[in-house]
Amino acid sequence: MIENLDTIEKKDLFASGHRACGGCGQALAARMVADASGENTIACVATGCLEVFSSPYPDPSWRIPFLHSLFENAAAVAAGVEVAYKALNKGPVNIIAQGGDGSTSDIGFQCLSGMFERGHNVLYVCYDNEAYMNTGVQRSGSTPLGTRTTTTPGGKKRLKKNIPLLAADHGIPYVATATVDDYRDLQRKVKTALSIEGPKYLHILAPCPLGWGHAGDLTVQICRLAKQTCIFPVFEIREGKIISVQKVPVKKPVEEYLKLQGRFRNLFKKGTPTTDVAAIQKIADGNIERFNL
């Protein structure tokens, strides 16, 4: 079904004219995912920014079938579509559940875990903008250490939940991470995932200019810095084994990533202990070691 993994697909299956903010990483990623998966796809989308800016009645942006139910059940709804296709002898069809980091790592994690465990032939895509953006930038389980949100005004004190590795530990056949600055890599991973039978998980870092406090034209640059500082490792796991890692030959200090974003302003205020930034550098160093970046 998937022809060429390395061709960039531009089919406009996720049409322009939607209501996302300028520079929205999620809108960019959703278009890449839709175009990579092609017309023969059903998108099951969780409540959240993506759903709100792309599906107001009567003018949705989707040119593929779109199914939205609730905030926390995209994975279960997609599982339902999948079993229906099996039972009705229809298909093959690409079934892609999509949600933000809140619906994926917090409120919808049970449905996600159940879908993985039961082995549905579904690709779950998480657009990670590291907080509840649709409701006005509140902290989620995926918000990183030190981040200022409206519910962590002093900066988050806890670590970001590692959903890709939690997904991999379910024993599912394919887990990958990607960023929206690398069209080719992201689409290759979507196509790779769709060529594999069973549950798949793709975790995409999707900057939110509004919530992260950066200019809309910096979305791509911020993604690159997330990789170059090793804050966000980009890798693929097949059957529990890491099969590819995007190497970072020249590693930059995390400050270069943090300083561009208003959400980390607290860390650089006069009088803030430098240990806070050091703790984040430690996370990046841990990624370097763990993934051999």
């Binding site: 759903e51 279960a76 599982a79 229809k90 049970q110």
Partner: protein, 391 residues
């Protein structure tokens, strides 16, 4: 064929005859036997369907939502806490007009934790936009499922078949299980009207801003009101095809000359009929109106049926805490204010959390309302374990 079987098995057998494509369920007492029996039917190959063992009732409802949106005939069953956990999806299914059939093995709701029968669970979703049909006995529980699919798919409305937990689900009694051909003749294959399919890309579950939301709810409300006709029609068609009375909006028993009318629903109506017969032998005229369709609530037809009755007592296994009887509320609303006729409508709450309702309890109730109207009374309340300081 007449079989001496458990209520749960009767429902499982009949659901299988309705040929659902997708079944998803999470185990919860007293619903378990239904889904266990269905799992066996599927695993033995007697029904070709996908049986999905989900991780929660919330997921069960979500899986059937997705499957129904993709064009499958679907089934799930739950009760009590499971119904509450499903609540969000229950509303969503109705709003999306998906013709899902669900069995509610009626059970009480915690706290205190209690696994026995009352109607609080299905009452908790009475406003969600589902058709709710209550079974009197296991034959009717089985029959209602066949009718439910027909009603649901004709109207694009979800249907909940309510049967009393344990009292029906775990009771063995003779049930006539139809053969496959009879059911196939009655229930045509599901032809969905709006589904997700790449051949006709469209959106399901779009969000509606204030310009559109109210109309969506109005249309849902009108559809439910209009479903009364279909519920009646399907019950009449069922009578012709299967030669027995099941379902419909409501039934009456010895109502014509009754001086006192009991209104109730679910399995307790069997006991009420027994009592009515005994009263009759004693020369006392008591009648019954048993609700099958609680939602839609057939107000006009109940009014027409009861308009000459001056002493009505509502017996129900549910309560709106801080307000009173729920069915009683609906029955009181049935009669317009300022009627010339002087009418008493009494309200009794009974059987909460599986408390037994004896014939003596029922007799006490009828004899009490003969003497005086009762605003609200808990039947069989054990006053000796209630302390003044707790009130």
């Amino acid at each position: 064929m007449l079989k001496q079987i458990e209520g749960s098995q009767a429902v499982a057998d009949v659901v299988a005859l309705c040929r659902p494509n997708v079944i998803a369920a999470y185990p919860i007492t007293p619903q378990t036997h239904i889904v266990e029996d269905l799992a066996e039917i599927v695993s033995e190959g007697r029904l070709k369907a996908e049986f999905v063992n989900v991780e929660s009732e919330f997921a069960a409802a979500s899986v059937v939502l997705g499957a129904s949106a993709a064009g499958a005939r679907t089934y799930t069953a739950t009760t009590s806490q499971g119904m509450l956990l499903m609540n969000e999806v229950i509303y969503c299914i109705a709003g999306m007009r998906l013709p899902i059939v669900l069995t509610c093995a009626n059970r009480a709701i915690a706290a205190p934790l209690n696994i026995w029968n009352d109607h609080q669970d299905s009452m908790s979703v009475r406003d969600a936009g589902w058709i709710q049909l209550h079974a009197e006995d296991n034959q009717e529980a089985a029959d209602l499922h066949i009718q439910a699919y027909k009603i649901a798919e004709q109207l694009s409305l979800p249907v909940m078949v309510c049967m009393d937990g344990f009292i029906l689900t775990h009771a063995y009694e003779p049930v006539d299980i139809p053969d496959q051909k009879q059911v196939d003749d009655f229930l045509p294959p599901f032809k969905p009207t709006h589904i997700v399919d790449p051949r006709w890309p469209r959106g399901l579950g779009l969000y509606a801003d204030p310009r559109f939301y109210m109309e969506a709810k109005y249309i849902q409300h009108r559809a439910l009101e209009k479903s009364e006709e279909t519920i009646k029609q399907v019950s009449a068609d069922f009578r012709r095809a299967f030669n027995r009375d099941s379902g419909g909006l409501f039934k009456t028993y010895k109502l014509k000359d009754a001086d006192v009318v009991v209104v109730s629903m679910g399995s307790i109506v069997g006991s009420i009929k027994d009592l009515i017969d005994r009263f009759e032998a004693e020369g006392k005229k008591v009648g019954l109106l048993q609700i099958c369709s609680f939602r839609p609530f057939p107000r006009e037809q109940i009014y027409e049926t009861l308009k000459d009755k001056t002493n009505i007592v509502v017996l129900e296994k549910s309560i709106s805490l801080g307000r009173g009887g729920i069915l009683a509320s609906d029955i009181r609303w049935t009669f317009p204010k300022g009627e010339k006729i002087k009418r008493r409508i009494s309200s009794f709450i009974a059987g909460l959390g599986g408390r037994n309702i004896s014939l003596d309890d029922l007799r006490y109730m009828v004899e009490k309302v003969e003497r005086e109207p009762v605003e609200l009374e808990f039947l069989g309340l054990r006053q000796e374990i209630i302390q003044e300081k707790d009130l």
